[in-house]
């Protein structure tokens, strides 16, 4: 087996002969990594995941999961992965425990093993109390935890999460992140996830790929991507707004760019925390008093907007996908009935 849990080469999916949902996508995911697919709705995230979990057939390109080819060895791929789809797929009429056992049976796991694992997983996601209640009575967060538990019943090597916190409120979302981190620690697996929440990618992922219009625009660790934007931003004002001290600031080491805007200076710099005091010293030495100062670290939001643009999008999603998303949001929000 290679050291990469996922290798993807030129993967392409075309719907109805002309809608290119995923366009020659290539990337690798290392063993044990949390890899995030970040992009707006309709960017091709779910289509990519569906090809990797062998539910959709690619039109072009190939990929391996745990060293198995998704087109030639689909059964092997299916046995070594766990999937948590975007939708709540647990059967509402069954109880939480019955749902987990159903998943186990789909993998052909013997009952004595699956019972033990189910209890263990329910304990981990703190659902033991509710295991004998019908899923219809669960809140969005509980459903999500149940889905996580179901996805892990076969002890997967690679765990696929499609929009794991879609439609959840902030508290539940943060709680869900903690469960994901906990499960990752407990079972040491590789995680491939999609999201359009930037803070989610920033919080959880070791590396992210930004995807838009079916193409990967950039890949890297969140920190790297932020730094690639050109470092931190400092805004600074001095008492006398009429003179321009840009040349003074520009001379400070690690300052990359200075712009005077409406009486204040917008400075791009590296290592903001350490460079800022040097700048203040330089300004003072030139005989000016700093009246106002702010330092911002770039967020993944800015990286994302830099790459995907700020324009609003005309969504082009299938009727089916839209319906499922609506159902998911609705169920997440109804919070038990």
């Amino acid at each position: 087996m290679t050291s990469d849990a996922l290798t993807v080469n030129g993967l392409t999916k075309v719907f109805n002969k002309n809608l290119v949902a995923v366009d020659h996508v290539s990337f690798n995911v290392k063993e044990g990594e949390i890899f995030g697919f970040l992009g707006p709705n309709g960017a091709g995230k779910t289509t990519t995941i569906n090809m990797l979990i062998t539910v959709l057939k690619p039109n072009e390109g190939n990929a391996t999961v745990c060293g198995f080819d998704i087109a030639k060895q689909p059964s092997e791929v299916r046995s070594c992965i766990g999937v948590v789809p975007q939708e709540y797929t647990a059967d509402e009429d069954l109880t939480g425990l019955e749902n987990i056992i159903l998943c186990a049976d789909l993998y052909g796991i013997p009952r004595e093993v699956s019972k033990k694992r189910a209890e263990e997983l329910l304990e981990l996601v703190e659902m033991t109390k509710f295991k004998d209640k019908q899923v219809a009575t669960y809140s969005g967060g509980m459903r999500r935890r149940l889905e996580l538990a179901c996805g892990l019943i076969n002890r997967p090597h690679v765990f696929f999460l499609d929009e794991p916190t879609l439609g959840l409120d902030v508290q539940t979302r943060i709680a869900t992140w903690n469960y994901i981190k906990l499960l990752k620690k407990e079972y040491s697996m590789t995680i491939f996830m999609t999201t359009h929440y930037l803070e989610e990618a920033d919080m959880l992922c070791d590396r992210v790929a930004i995807i838009d219009h079916g193409k990967i625009i950039t890949v890297g660790a969140p920190e790297e991507l932020k730094e690639a934007l050109g470092g931190d931003i400092m805004t600074l004002s001095i008492k006398d707004g009429t003179i321009d001290i840009s040349p003074v600031i520009q001379k400070v080491t690690r300052v990359k760019e200075v712009k005077k805007q409406d009486g204040s200076y917008r400075i791009k710099l590296e290592d903001g925390e350490e460079t800022a005091p040097t700048i203040i010293d330089a300004v003072r030495a030139a005989g000016h008093n700093v009246t106002r100062l702010s330092l911002t670290k770039p967020t993944l939001d800015e990286v994302y907007l830099e790459y995907t643009g700020r324009s609003l999008r005309e969504e082009e999603e299938s009727r089916d996908a839209m319906f499922r998303q609506r159902v998911t949001m609705h169920r997440a929000r109804e919070g038990g009935h």
Binding site: P85, Q86, G108, R155
Partner: protein
């Protein structure tokens, strides 16, 4: 990590999926009772309301006394007419009691409706994302389809048993060859017809994401399948242009088989042919369904 504990049995998951469907039925008392009451209402309404036997028994045609003819001769003629009306019933329906004829026909009818709805459930599984989740597991593609088929078949058999139980209670008159073992034959016929019909409806639904389409297909097919069969009325008396359809309609054969086993003096050759037809029907369409599920469940 990935453990080699997954059984190599290709049927793994089949029962799990079938049981999931059945649980949705028997764990929901309203749904369960409704699905049982429905055929009983049909049986009561059609079997009792369309009281064809009464056409003869309650409106007897009698010849009034004719002067010059011995009244005892008139009585004998009247008796003969009454006997003839019973014979007409028996010749037409194979039994003098339309209720018995009809209530056995209801068994095929119940199976048809249960099979139709099994197509709907795959549309819902696809729309709600459950199907994608199942497809990402190593479960055999054919098992996904067959679990729906078996669900429909098991439901049909249970419903058939209940319909028969009520029919007996309401006065179904069994034929001379009837023994309790014949019921096994009845369930076998229901098994085969249910398997074939639900395979057809699931195959139609296999790529569909719109339940509206599925509803339209069901509405288009259900009444023609029912009326162009012997479930409600003997096909011999239907117009010549309709006869060929009744001859290829599997419901004709399942109904004939169940009537032979319960109501009639068994014609062994005819019964064998019924089962042969049903067996081929079930085998062809379930195989077709499995092949389609290999090709079309994943897109």
């Amino acid at each position: 990590m990935t453990q080699k504990n997954n059984s190599k049995n290709p049927l793994h998951g089949l029962w799990a999926l079938t049981n999931r469907e059945l649980k949705k039925w028997y764990k929901n008392p309203y749904l369960f009772i409704l699905s049982i009451i429905q055929p009983l209402i049909w049986m009561g309404l059609f079997g009792r309301a369309m009281n064809i036997s009464a056409i003869f028994s309650q409106n007897p045609i009698t010849i009034q006394p004719i002067p010059g003819i011995d009244p005892s001769v008139i009585d004998r003629i009247n008796q003969a007419i009454l006997n003839a009306s019973t014979q007409i019933m028996e010749k037409t329906f194979g039994t003098s009691d339309y209720f018995s004829y009809m209530s056995v026909g209801i068994i095929s009818f119940v199976t048809l409706f249960t099979a139709m709805f099994s197509g709907m459930s795959i549309v819902w599984d696809r729309r709600l994302g459950f199907l994608n989740k199942v497809l990402s597991t190593p479960v055999a593609r054919g098992s996904i389809l067959m679990s729906k088929v078996f669900n429909a078949v098991i439901r049909s058999i249970i419903q058939a048993a209940i319909v028969l139980g009520f029919a007996f209670a309401l006065g179904l008159t069994v034929g001379p060859d009837f023994t309790v073992f014949n019921l096994l034959g009845v369930f076998a016929a229901v098994f085969l017809i249910g398997m074939g019909l639900s395979s057809i409806f699931i195959a139609i639904a296999i790529r569909s994401t719109r339940w509206e389409t599925q509803m339209a297909v069901m509405n288009l097919l259900n009444l023609p399948l029912l009326f162009a069969s012997n479930a409600l009325f003997p096909t011999d008396l239907m117009p010549a242009w309709l006869q060929p359809f009744t001859k290829i309609n599997p419901i004709t054969y399942s109904t004939d088989a169940t009537r032979q086993l319960i109501l009639y003096t068994i014609n062994t050759q005819q019964l064998m042919f019924d089962f042969l037809f049903l067996g081929v029907f079930a085998a062809v369409f379930s195989t077709m369904g499995i092949v389609l599920s290999w090709r079309h469940l994943s897109r």
